[in-house]
């Protein structure tokens, strides 16, 4: 035990001595949670819109005025020709064009029907379709006002309630994701690179020759990293709560427990990586690629797992961040307890045990 404590102390000194790295490890999450917490959101705003209206009349100018006043739109005036419109859309200067048919009002009054076309730049499908939806709502609203004296029978109103996130803030969805991403990157690179560095320099062999059992030794090596990562988590949590206004609806203790499980898991992953490579460059490349891209794409941080095809849903099950993010959303945002988050926690534990097993087996082999 005394040996063990001495070893942990030694590792702590190693880390604290390099205060530049320490500053990076503790500063990086602060900057990133603030940047991404405020800036990353899916809302569609500032839609640049132009109107093509060959024969202006009371109706078309009325609709154009409604669009101009709507806060989602950035009204760019009217275009004289369809070619002009096409060109500015191709150059990426325009998101939506409202195209009225000739003699709009006259047609509407006499034949009872008139066409208005919405050309939306849908290279971004989400933005394209939502822009068209907003414009449709404005035109439909204008039309309703024109006919407001007539009661339309058999209407069914829907009364909507947004549960867990009544203000529909993007941060509720992204903050757990950013936590998962940042912790994964820091923990994996931290452990894998520092151990491979010792391998590269040959100091690992010296350590292995010490009387300490290698399991204990690896455990001692990870303890300081665990402490630092937990401090990172606490910093991120404080910033999310006090600066980004993301609530902590569930038990704080449970949330800490989930975080410790996840940190242990990501550190174990770093250990596993360190047994697979023997150059620092390769440790960085391997950790960076496997820690970043799967978390961005498959964890549900940005793209919901439920929307993916079956094969990718299965693949996402081996991404640790997926389970962490789900657990944090449940505990932190939805305020649910261990009776519901136990499944995610079980998966995180299982993955940790698996990775530690692989690491120990690999290390043993190397020594034989």
């Amino acid at each position: 035990m005394k040996q063990f404590i001495a070893f942990v102390k030694k590792e702590f000194r190693h880390i604290i001595r390099d205060n530049r790295t320490l500053l990076i490890i503790l500063g990086m999450p602060v900057v990133e949670i603030l940047l991404f917490g405020f800036a990353v959101n899916m809302e569609v705003q500032n839609i640049r819109v132009a109107v093509y209206d060959p024969t202006p009349d009371a109706f078309t100018t009325g609709i154009a005025e409604r669009i101009r006043q709507n806060s989602y739109f950035n009204y760019r005036g009217s275009v004289q020709t369809m070619d002009e419109m096409e060109e500015s859309m191709r150059k990426g200067e325009l998101d939506l064009a409202v195209v009225f048919q000739q003699n709009f009002q006259e047609e509407l009054v006499h034949s009872g029907e008139a066409d208005v076309q919405l050309l939306s730049n849908s290279s971004d499908p989400n933005r394209g379709s939502i822009a068209a939806t907003y414009a449709t709502a404005i035109i439909a609203g204008f039309q309703r006002e024109q006919t407001d004296l007539i009661q339309i029978p058999f209407q069914i109103q829907t009364e909507n309630r947004m549960i867990y996130n009544p203000l529909m803030k993007s941060s509720y969805m992204f903050v757990p994701g950013i936590m998962g991403l940042v912790l994964m990157i820091i923990c994996t690179i931290m452990t894998s690179v520092s151990i491979v560095r010792e391998k590269e320099r040959g100091t690992m062999e010296v350590l292995l020759a010490s009387p300490l059992k290698q399991g204990t030794m690896i455990f001692a090596k990870t303890i300081p990293y665990m402490v630092i990562s937990f401090i990172d988590f606490v910093i991120i949590l404080l910033l999310s709560y006090f600066v980004l206004d993301v609530p902590v609806n569930g038990s704080l203790l449970l949330l800490f427990f989930v975080a410790i499980l996840y940190i242990t898991l990501t550190l174990s992953y770093g250990l596993t990586v360190s047994t697979l490579v023997d150059k620092q460059v390769n440790a960085v490349i391997f950790s960076a690629i496997t820690a970043m891209i799967p978390v961005l794409m498959l964890s549900g941080m940005i793209f919901p797992v439920d929307n993916m095809p079956g094969a990718l849903q299965a693949l996402s099950a081996i991404v640790p961040a997926r389970w962490f993010i789900e657990a944090v959303r449940k505990v932190m945002i939805q305020g649910l307890g261990v009776t519901i988050a136990w499944k995610e926690m079980l998966v995180l534990t299982g993955m940790t045990l698996f990775l530690l097993g692989v690491t120990i087996m690999k290390t043993k082999k190397r020594l034989e």
Partner: protein, 378 residues
């Protein structure tokens, strides 16, 4: 010039001495383009819904069936009350609860209007909003269906006035991506992501690796200019980036049928300018770092900022003003926009020239800094 040639040769030899790197250059883009585009979709299907039907009438039954038949929804359960449905939501078995009041049918027939309650899990705000919009659409369809059937029961006066309603036909047309295929939108983004990772991380580790190995001292005492040294570091990443781009362009054509309407040349030219700027950033990081660990943390820090504030996943236009100011100096943002225009809008090289100029300016500043920050003494 001759020195430069030898230096470049040295860099290539050093790069390929590590067997992971050539494999990485080929396999990484292939894997990413093969697998990840399928994961991206905001198109929402299979929303699980619980219907709490207090009315248990013909009309409420019809509405329930209509929801169940929709392609967007899966009818998960019809629990007896709201609390039971809420429990299902907490257990993550359902995403949405539709509650039909007991007086639903009576209200419809007697008062000619009625209502339903919709509660949706909105942790994911967009998904919540879309889900409730879909329910609203279904309910509206249902009410116009009823209007068709029940008009005869109306007093003649009302019937006439509402049948004389004028109609504006609103026709949306989705330009450049009529099928609203998210893959097409994301693939150009993936190409930029690949370039950023490979041509950002590798140079960031390069000089610091020479520092750790001690080989930098040999370079420092050799009579070569700082400019030549940095150029020799940069040029191999052009080669890496071009190979990555050629693989990406070919694969995205073969698998997804995606071809740049603006021409392959335009795509490659923009890539070259971009690679210069991210590699410059990598070299700056390498110059300022003492250890590989520092360099790797710093490069990941900057890559995350480039990517997440670069418009690949979430639109720059919906960011707050200060974040848009960051985007204005973010090379990732300029190349993603340019690629999407070249690939989807069929824009020409001239149309994206503004983006290229911005990229060029960023590259000049970053590489000037890279040369400046390289100190020839240990």
């Amino acid at each position: 010039m001759k020195t430069l040639k030898f230096l470049i040769e040295k860099e290539f030899k050093q790069m390929f001495r590590n067997p992971l790197i050539p494999r990485l250059i080929v396999l990484f883009p292939t894997m990413v383009l093969l697998v990840f585009p399928w994961a991206v979709s905001f198109e929402i299907k299979n929303i699980r819904v619980d219907v709490v039907d207090h009315s248990k009438s013909v009309y409420s039954k019809r509405l329930t069936d209509k929801i169940a038949a929709s392609q967007y929804f899966i009818l998960h359960d019809t629990p007896p009350d709201y609390n039971a449905a809420m429990l299902n939501m907490e257990n993550d078995e359902t995403d949405m609860i539709v509650e039909i009041p007991a007086s639903f049918d009576v209200d419809l027939v007697k008062r000619r209007e009625s209502g339903v309650g919709v509660a949706v899990n909105s942790v994911n705000g967009t998904q919540g909003l879309l889900g409730s919009n879909y329910v609203m659409q279904i309910v509206n369809d249902f009410s116009s269906e009823l209007r068709g059937e029940l008009t005869q029961t109306l007093p003649p006066q009302t019937r006439v006035s509402f049948m004389r309603l004028k109609k504006m036909n609103i026709v949306p047309q989705y330009k450049y991506n009529p099928a609203l295929d998210y893959k097409k939108f994301m693939i150009p983004g993936f190409m930029v992501l690949l370039l950023t990772i490979l041509c950002g991380i590798l140079p960031a580790l390069n000089i610091v690796m020479e520092k750790e190995n001690g080989t930098i001292n040999q370079i420092n005492v050799t009579p070569i200019s700082k400019m030549n040294f940095i150029l020799a570091k940069l040029i191999p990443y052009w080669a890496v980036g071009l190979v990555v781009m050629i693989i990406s362009i070919t694969l995205s054509f073969l698998i997804y049928g995606l071809w740049p309407g603006g021409g392959v040349v335009a795509v490659l030219i923009s890539s070259i300018v971009f690679i210069l700027s991210v590699s410059g950033l990598g070299i700056i990081i390498s110059n300022y770092s003492e250890t590989m660990q520092q360099a790797s943390f710093l490069v990941m820090f900057f890559i995350l900022i480039l990517v997440l504030l670069g418009g690949m996943f979430t639109p720059v236009s919906s960011m707050p003003a200060w974040a848009q100011a960051i985007a204005a100096i973010n090379p990732f943002n300029y190349l993603t926009t340019a690629f999407r225009m070249l690939y989807l809008n069929g824009s020409s090289l001239a149309d994206v020239s503004g983006n290229l100029l911005a990229l060029g300016a960023i590259a000049v500043v970053l590489n000037g800094w890279a040369v400046f920050s390289y100190k020839k003494r240990g």
